[in-house]
Assembly symmetry: C2
Homo-oligomer: 220 residues x 2
DNA sequence: TCGCAGACTGAACAAACGTTCAAGTTTGGT
DNA sequence: ACCAAACTTGAACGTTTGTTCAGTCTGCGA
């Protein structure tokens, strides 16, 4: 009330302020648990303004989703053109680099992403498919170059790669509980990146055991 | 109304019927989106009975959680004693076998598990930690037996293994969209099981390229 | 047969919810 | 200076929510 109309927040624009605060609240507590009054209070506007701009709470959700998608896919799409001739490592590096550049806004982003994926919003599938097709594309490329063993399962490998890629996004709260800090902090991130590249390429067995183990497996 | 008081459902016991239907509804739509009236209607009881047995909606949630935990952890714990001397493959096989035996009730189970992980309920962390400690235990065992290359990241490997283990549970709706059927159907399940064991042990690179690739990586 | 403890009902209630609307304020072009 | 359009307000409304409670029904030991 007595505070200035536009104290700290991003823009004096009320609409943008609603969008930002709504995204943050949805990310933290989930869509159903957040009331329009919560949002109005946090954005320092009246409840009426929300429905004036977005028609309804559902309309607000769609607007927030749209804004998030724009931010998120813009990067994935800008990577897509060169993706055809991109190596798997390069794609992962690309994503990691982007993340590093957006690390300040990342906590909200990853939480929102997490909820969107688990709540099965319509575009969750589209994002998943994007990751999936990128994984499969680089797999196909590796295959064409003879970089994939013949016995590797072509059906499941891209899914497993996506699991590894999205795992920390989906489970970071629990990772944080065990590690004491978020798996998205720069050093942990880089280290994980190397770890899963190593895992995908070479697995964990030492060279000497590979022959023995694989022959034993083929005996089944 | 005109239907019999105990038509089809599991037991004539109203309390159990509430518990079962609530678990199913929570799994499908999430706790906040389900009303006590929804549950009462589906369980064919009055709204008063729910609060009579469980005190409140929150009390019902705890009871449903408790029931789910009992079912879920009972198996994990029964596996834990022999886990110390269990090979990683055996543990995965164990879990898969259990799943196969519970495949009829699995859709609800996995959905509930998924939501519990998303909503970060208190026991979600406990389940995650259980998976994590089992993964780490088998990694330690492999390490002691010299079955882990020295350069493998001991910090992230258990997390990555858990990602692979839980990935399909968390993302099955999207897998289903791409594959046309659930990744939990028996044949797909078995095939995925083999695929991630192979990935963890040996990665994807053919033997001939391993030396070249690893030396190139170490040059960084 | 009595009585009572527990299962069960459903109307009623207060609070919280999303939504509406008449009215006030600010903005920008003329 | 004027006005129309857009922005913004907050009280009010109707609905839905979780919860309560007086009362009914049922089974069972005394």
């Amino acid at each position: 009330m007595t505070e200035a109309a536009t104290p700290i927040p991003d823009r004096s624009n009320g609409r943008e302020r609603i969008l930002d605060e709504a995204m943050q609240l949805f990310a933290e507590h989930g869509f159903d648990s957040v009331t329009v009054r919560d949002i109005a209070a946090k954005a320092d506007v009246s409840v009426g303004l929300i429905n004036h701009h977005f028609g309804s709470k559902e309309g607000l959700r769609e607007a927030v989703d749209a804004k998030f998608i724009r931010q998120f896919e813009e990067v994935l799409d800008s990577a897509a053109p060169s993706m055809g001739q991109m190596r798997m490592e390069d794609f992962f590096a690309w994503v990691d680099d982007w993340i590093a550049r957006h690390q300040s806004t990342w906590p909200v982003t990853v939480q929102y992403f997490r909820r969107a994926l688990l709540e099965e919003s319509e575009w969750g599938a589209s994002v998943f498919e994007k990751f999936f097709s990128i994984a499969r594309a680089s797999i196909d490329r590796m295959d064409a170059q003879g970089l994939l063993r013949p016995d590797v399962d072509r059906l499941w490998l891209p899914f497993l790669m996506v699991y590894l890629e999205l795992g920390t996004s989906l489970l970071d709260p629990y990772v944080t509980k065990i590690l004491g800090r978020s798996g998205f902090e720069a050093d942990l991130w880089k280290r994980r990146h190397r770890a899963y590249l190593s895992l995908i390429y070479r697995g964990v067995l030492p060279p000497k055991d590979r022959a023995r183990k694989s022959s034993a497996q083929e005996a089944n």
